[in-house]
C-alpha cells in the first residue's frame, strides 16, 4: 500500500509497506517516480528484487533485510538498506549509490558498470565478480573468488580477503587492508604509488570510512594470461 505522508521537506516522502503491497507495486511505483523524491520501504522481509531498475534520481530507504538482487541494475539515485542483503546486491549497477548497513551474500555488485556500492559489514564469495567499472567498498571481510574476471573499477576491502582473490582479473584495481588467503591466477601484489593512495583515500571518504590508505596493499593483473600461449596451460 502506497501512502503519501505529509512532506517534511520540499520533497514528498512516500512509504510502501511490503507487508501489504506486492514487490511488483513497489518497483512499478519507483519506475514512475520523479527526480528528488524520497521513498521508504517498510517490512521488506528479505523479499527478492527490491528497488530494481531505478531510473530516476530518487533516494530509497529499505528498512530491514533484502533478498536476492536488491537494487539490481541501479542507474541513478541512492538505495540504502538498513539490514542484510542477499545474492547479487546491486548486480550490474550503472551509477548512483547503493549502501548496505549489514552483511551481504555472494556476487555483490556483480558485473557492475559504474556507481558506488558500500557494504558496512562483510560480503560473501565472488564479491565484484566480472565488475566493469563499479567501485565497491567493504567494511569487513570478503569471501573466496572475489573480483573474479574483474574488468574495471575498484574494490576496497577494509578486512580480509578469501581465497583466489582476483582470479583472471583484467584492469580492475583491488585494495585490501587485512590478509589475503590466496591470490587467484594472474593476480599479483602491485606497488602503492601516490596516485593509488589518492584514489583509495577518495573511495574511503566516499564510503564514509576512517581507515588510513597507507595501511592497504594493492593487487591487480600480471597480464600474463591476456593472450593464449601454450606455456600458460598450467595456470588454468
Amino acid at each position: 500500500m502506497v501512502t503519501l505522508t505529509a512532506p517534511e521537506t520540499t520533497t514528498p516522502i512516500a512509504t510502501i509497506d511490503l507487508a501489504d503491497s506486492p514487490v511488483r507495486d513497489l518497483n512499478q511505483a519507483l519506475h514512475e517516480a520523479t527526480d528528488g523524491q524520497s521513498w521508504t520501504v517498510a517490512n521488506p522481509g528479505g523479499k527478492h528484487s527490491l528497488a530494481v531498475g531505478i531510473d530516476a534520481d530518487i533516494s530509497v530507504a529499505i528498512n530491514g533485510h533484502a533478498g536476492y538482487y536488491a537494487a539490481g541494475m541501479h542507474k541513478t539515485g541512492t538505495v540504502t538498506i538498513s539490514g542484510n542483503a542477499g545474492v547479487g546486491l546491486a548486480e550490474n549497477i550503472m551509477s548512483g549509490t547503493v549502501h548496505v548497513k549489514g552483511d551481504v551474500s555472494q556476487s555483490a555488485a556483480a558485473t557492475g558498470h559504474g556507481g558506488l556500492v558500500v557494504i558496512d559489514g562483510n560480503a560473501g564469495a565472488r564479491c565484484g565478480i566480472s565488475m566493469k567499472g563499479v567501485d565497491i567498498v567493504v567494511g569487513g571481510n570478503i569471501g573466496h573468488m572475489s573480483a573474479f574476471m574483474a574488468q574495471a573499477g575498484r574494490l576496497v576491502v577494509c578486512g580480509d580477503a578469501g581465497e583466489a582473490l582476483g582470479d583472471s582479473v583484467y584492469e580492475a584495481r583491488i585494495y585490501v587492508k587485512g590478509s589475503v588467503a590466496s591470490l587467484g591466477a594472474d593476480c599479483i601484489e602491485k606497488p602503492m604509488k601516490l596516485e593509488h593512495l589518492d584514489e583509495l583515500a577518495g573511495l574511503l571518504a566516499a564510503a564514509g570510512r576512517s581507515e588510513d590508505p597507507a595501511d592497504f596493499k594493492r593487487y591487480g593483473s600480471a597480464r600474463n594470461l591476456y593472450h593464449f600461449s601454450v606455456h600458460n596451460s598450467a595456470s588454468y
Binding site: Y69, V87, I129, K132, G133, Q151, Y170, V230
Partner: protein, 453 residues
C-alpha cells in the same frame, strides 16, 4: 581449421588419382585427422574455429513427410491459406512478439560479426517480419535501429549489459549455453577486439577474450527463477523472457526452464554455429538437433505447457523442409545462424582465390575467429567489412527467409495443414533406424519406433 606447415591441397594427388592407384585411405586416420595431428604437433595448441559440428549426424534429411492422399485432404497450393505467424512469449509478458514467419535469426554478436553484417541481418529480418538477436557484446545502435523485433541476450559475461538497452529490447534471452559448446563460454580472439568492440565489452584492446561459462550471480534452476523475476520487475512484466540451452539434456533443462518461469525455451543442437570454439568441443559435446526436439517437446507436454511456453529450435536449419520438420516435431519456431550468414555471402565461391590464400576453400571456410573473412561478415577489418553492402545483404537474407517460409508452406499444404503449427509428428516417417529412434517417428514403411513403449 588452419593449415600451418602442411602441404597445400594443390600438391596432394587429386582424389580420383589416388583411387586409380588403388591407394587406401584409413577411415580412422583420414586426411583431416592426419592434418589435425600434424597441426597439433607443430603448434602445441588446440584448434579453434567457427561453424558448428561438421561430423555427419542423424538430421532432418533422415525424415520424410507423408503427403495427404485418400484419408487426408491436401490444401490447394497458391489458393488456400496456410498461415505462418507465431506469437512468442505470451505466458507472462504483456507485450509478446508477433512474428510473420517462424524463422528467426539466432544470436550473433557485434564483434564476432561486422557492423555491416549485423545491420544486414536486421534489415533482412525486419523486411519479412521476424526477429534478430544480439550476442555476447551488447546491443549496437545500428542493430536496434534496423531490427523491428530485437531479442537481447543476457549472457554470463554481461558485456555491454545495461538497463536502458534491456528496456529497449523486444525480448530478453537468458543464455545458458549454445549447441556448439554446451558448458562453454564465449571466445573472441585479439584480432577482433578492436577499439569499438573492446569499448563495448570494457576490455583491453587486442586481448584474447575468454568469457565466463557460468552466470556470475545465479546458480541452478532455483536461482534462475529469482533472476527471471528480477528481469521481469526491471521491465515491468512487459518483455518476454526466453531461456536458451545448448542441447545436452534438453528434457530436464526444458522442464527446469519452464519451472523457472521462462516464456520461451530455445534449444540449440550441436550443429548450431559458433564464432570461435575449440574444435574438440564443437565435435564432441552436445547432441544433434533431431535428438533434442522430441525430448524438449515431451517435457513441455508433460507439464501441460506445450504451445503455452513456445519452443524455438536451432542447429542445422537450411531449408523450408527443415523448418517444417522441426515444427512437425513440436517446435513453435526455429532460428537460423549459419544459414543466414551463407545468405549474406559467407563461403561464396566468388572469393575462391582468397579462401585459398587463407589455406581454406569456399564451402570449407570456418576460421571465423581470425577476423580475415573475405566476405566481410566475420571480421572487424574495415576494408573487408566494406565488402558487405548491408542493404544488398539484407535483401538476400529477406529473399532466403521468404523461400524458407514458402517451402515450409508448400509441405504443410501437401499435408493438409492451414497453419505451419498444425504440422504434427504423425506427418513424418524416418529413413533410418537412428533418426526414427531420435525423432520418435516410425521407420518409413513400418509402424516401428525403436525405443517406443
Amino acid at each position: 581449421m588452419t593449415t600451418t606447415s602442411l602441404p597445400q591441397d594443390s600438391v596432394l594427388p587429386p582424389a580420383q588419382h589416388t583411387e586409380e592407384l588403388g591407394l587406401r585411405e584409413s577411415a580412422t586416420f583420414d586426411r583431416a585427422t592426419i592434418a589435425d595431428i600434424q597441426r597439433a604437433a607443430a603448434t602445441g595448441v588446440y584448434d579453434i574455429r567457427g561453424w558448428g559440428a561438421k561430423r555427419k549426424v542423424p538430421h532432418f534429411d533422415d525424415l520424410l513427410f507423408l503427403g495427404a492422399s485418400m484419408s487426408r485432404y491436401p490444401l490447394e497450393g497458391y489458393r488456400e491459406k496456410c498461415d505462418t505467424d507465431v506469437v512468442l512469449g505470451d505466458r507472462h509478458a504483456s507485450k509478446p512478439l508477433h512474428l510473420q514467419t517462424p524463422v528467426t535469426i539466432a544470436g550473433m554478436s557485434f564483434g564476432a560479426l561486422s557492423a555491416n553484417a549485423k545491420e544486414a541481418l536486421g534489415r533482412g529480418a525486419s523486411e519479412v517480419g521476424t526477429s534478430t538477436t544480439t550476442g555476447d557484446g551488447g546491443m549496437t545502435p545500428e542493430e536496434r535501429g534496423q531490427s523491428k523485433h530485437l531479442v537481447y541476450q543476457y549472457l554470463p559475461s554481461r558485456y555491454g549489459m545495461n538497463p536502458d538497452d534491456l528496456r529497449k529490447a523486444d525480448a530478453i534471452e537468458i543464455v545458458l549455453g549454445q549447441g556448439a559448446k554446451p558448458g562453454g563460454g564465449g571466445m573472441l580472439l585479439g584480432q577482433k577486439i578492436t577499439e569499438r568492440v573492446a569499448g563495448m565489452r570494457t576490455l583491453p584492446v587486442g586481448i584474447d577474450q575468454r568469457s565466463a561459462s557460468r552466470h556470475p550471480d545465479w546458480t541452478g534452476p532455483d536461482d534462475l527463477e529469482i533472476k527471471i523475476g528480477e528481469l521481469r520487475e526491471i521491465t515491468d512484466w512487459k518483455t518476454p523472457i526466453y531461456v536458451k540451452i545448448g542441447a545436452s539434456r534438453p528434457y530436464y533443462d526444458t522442464a527446469l526452464a519452464v519451472k523457472a518461469g521462462a516464456d520461451v525455451v530455445v534449444v540449440d543442437g550441436m550443429q548450431g554455429g559458433t564464432a570461435a570454439t575449440q574444435q574438440v568441443f564443437i565435435e564432441n559435446v552436445g547432441i544433434p538437433t533431431l535428438a533434442a526436439i522430441p525430448q524438449a517437446v515431451q517435457a513441455l507436454q508433460e507439464l501441460g505447457m506445450h504451445r503455452k511456453v513456445q519452443l524455438i529450435v536451432s542447429g542445422g536449419i537450411r531449408t523450408g523442409a527443415d523448418v517444417a520438420k522441426a515444427m512437425a516435431l513440436g517446435a513453435d519456431a526455429v532460428a537460423i545462424g549459419t544459414a543466414a550468414l551463407i545468405a549474406l555471402g559467407d563461403n561464396d565461391p566468388r572469393y575462391a582465390s582468397e579462401y585459398a590464400a587463407l589455406g581454406s576453400a569456399a564451402g570449407f571456410y570456418d576460421d571465423f575467429q581470425d577476423g580475415r573473412d573475405p566476405a566481410g561478415i566475420t571480421t572487424q577489418d574495415p576494408e573487408l567489412s566494406s565488402r558487405l553492402d548491408p542493404v544488398a545483404g539484407g535483401r538476400r537474407l529477406a529473399n532466403y527467409l521468404r523461400v524458407l517460409t514458402m517451402e515450409a508452406q508448400t509441405i504443410a499444404r501437401a499435408c493438409g495443414k492451414s497453419h505451419l503449427h498444425n504440422l504434427e509428428p504423425e506427418d513424418l516417417v524416418a529413413l533410418t533406424i537412428e533418426a526414427s529412434a531420435m525423432a520418435r517417428v516410425p521407420l518409413a514403411g513400418t509402424n516401428w519406433i525403436p525405443g517406443a513403449k
